[in-house]
């Protein structure tokens, strides 16, 4: 469903993403794990067609993201980092706007908005403007936007950021269920999240894939069977690693 080959993104002399390749099929939930600034968001922005890659190839559902971006973007639902939204719009207006851009009109649009609102528990704030929402509601509004056209591919950049523990639990459940018949890629730096929701994990550090496998496989790499140990061992700079082991 998603194929990423030798993806590179340079900002000036800095390589934010350096030769990343992977593929994801329907029914998989892929977790992107990595320290801050590792290149998770940049990779996601390339897959969603926001950043053009410096080199490499991305296909989504067989459509090349550079050559046929519109067809590829139709298949994707995207929750950007920090869940942006038009501050002066109401939740209802915003979701209808997004549905229209997704090519939904009339009754189909109404149904789609209604379904997304139900799914993300937004009934209570439907006619509130986005800048008056709490962080959790703002986040769920943007999440609702990404689900509105019932996409085959969901790309979620830190979907549980800023949510309270209960909401985190809900979103993880949602991701897991959606992943049963879609492709879901989500990024996080919370390790428990990976265990709770992912069928596969990719650990990215300084623009490169440093490890990948199922959560169980990765855990097996540590003598204690703990994911955070594996994560630290892989992603800490060499100098610090030395100190930790010493």
């Amino acid at each position: 469903m998603i194929n990423v080959e030798h993806l590179v993104k340079a900002f000036g002399p800095k390589l934010a993403v350096n030769d990343v390749s992977f593929s994801v099929e329907r029914g998989e939930v892929l977790g992107f794990l990595g320290p801050n600034g590792a290149g998770k968001s940049t990779t996601m922005r390339m897959i969603t067609g926001y950043y053009p890659p410096t080199s490499g190839r991305i296909t989504v559902g067989g459509h090349d993201m550079v050559e046929d971006p519109i067809a590829a973007k139709r298949l994707i639902g995207y929750l950007p980092e920090n869940a942006p939204g038009y501050a002066d719009m109401t939740v209802n207006g915003f979701l209808n706007f997004c549905a229209e851009l997704r090519g939904l009109q009339g009754d189909a649009r109404k149904r789609a908005v209604h379904r997304a609102v139900e799914l993300c528990f937004l009934e209570g704030v439907l006619y509130q403007s986005i800048d008056t929402l709490s962080k959790g509601y703002k986040h769920r509004t943007c999440l609702a936007q990404s689900l509105i056209h019932d996409p085959d591919v969901l790309i979620l950049d830190e979907p549980t950021d800023g949510l309270d523990p209960n909401q985190k639990h809900e979103v993880r459940g949602l991701i897991k269920r959606l992943g049963e018949n879609k492709v879901v890629i989500f990024s996080t730096h919370i390790l428990e999240e990976v265990e709770a929701a992912c069928s596969r994990v990719i650990i990215i550090d300084r623009g490169r894939i440093v490890a990948s496998g199922t959560p169980a496989e990765l855990k097996a790499r540590s003598p204690e069977g703990k994911l955070d140990e594996v994560f630290r061992a892989i992603t800490l700079p060499d100098t610090v690693k030395h100190e930790v082991h010493a």
């Binding site: 973007k73 139900e118 799914l119 019932d150």
Partner: protein, 282 residues
Amino acid sequence: MSENNHPLPSSPALLPEGEGRQQPAVSPSAAAGRSGTALVNIRTIMKRELAGYFTSPIAYVFLVIFLLLTGFFTFTIGNFFERGEASLVSFFTWHPWLYLFLVPAAGMRLWSEERRLGTMELLLTMPVTNWQAIVGKFLASWLFLALALALTFPVAITVNYFGDPDNGVIFAGYVGSLMLAGSYLAVSCMTSAMTRNQVISFILSVMICLFLILAGYTPVTDLLSRFASPVVVDVVAAFSVMTHFEGFQRGVLDTRDVAFFASVIGFMLFVTGVIIRNQRAG
């Protein structure tokens, strides 16, 4: 929050095989519908942008100030009544200067706001092309400026009440004024794509618009003609909105003047597209 207590609904609509599954209303394979999709996208973006003016105080503040200033310039400084002419010369003469500050004020948020809020990422990862977004946003602002201009209709009624003006000239004046506003707006559109800071966007666009005025402003061309050949002066003046705006005020709808404004708009929007693309290219 009470919703935390109940489990997620197992909505059947989520299953791709379910009946609730929605196909996009416009299928990608329908090549004939492609231009239709473009228009729908432009209209959707335009509608949202236009509504954005009216859900914030911007629209009302802008309209009131625009109407007050046009009234002040036309009647007080322009000596509308003392002139004893049945024309709107004293009305249109001030437009290049009035728009110099008001149009960038209306256009400065177009893209810088999207960048500041992060919604640009949302908008440009939708199945929408860059130019659809650019044109949609531009048209919304232009329509807003057209509304402001249309609300000056009492001036046209006044002059018709007191005298017998050539309404063809007045119509041409309005067309010219709208084209002028569109050109300034396209400049603001470009500068707002450059930065997330609206103040910088505003100042840059005022400077560029000022250049577009001064290149053909009589005091400046007179000064220039003292040490440059008439050809050079003409070439510089040809870039000015003043040169092309004057024709409209005389009631002449010259295709060359229309083409000038249209190409300023086209060029500035094209540059906007280049800027938006390059920012993401890194």
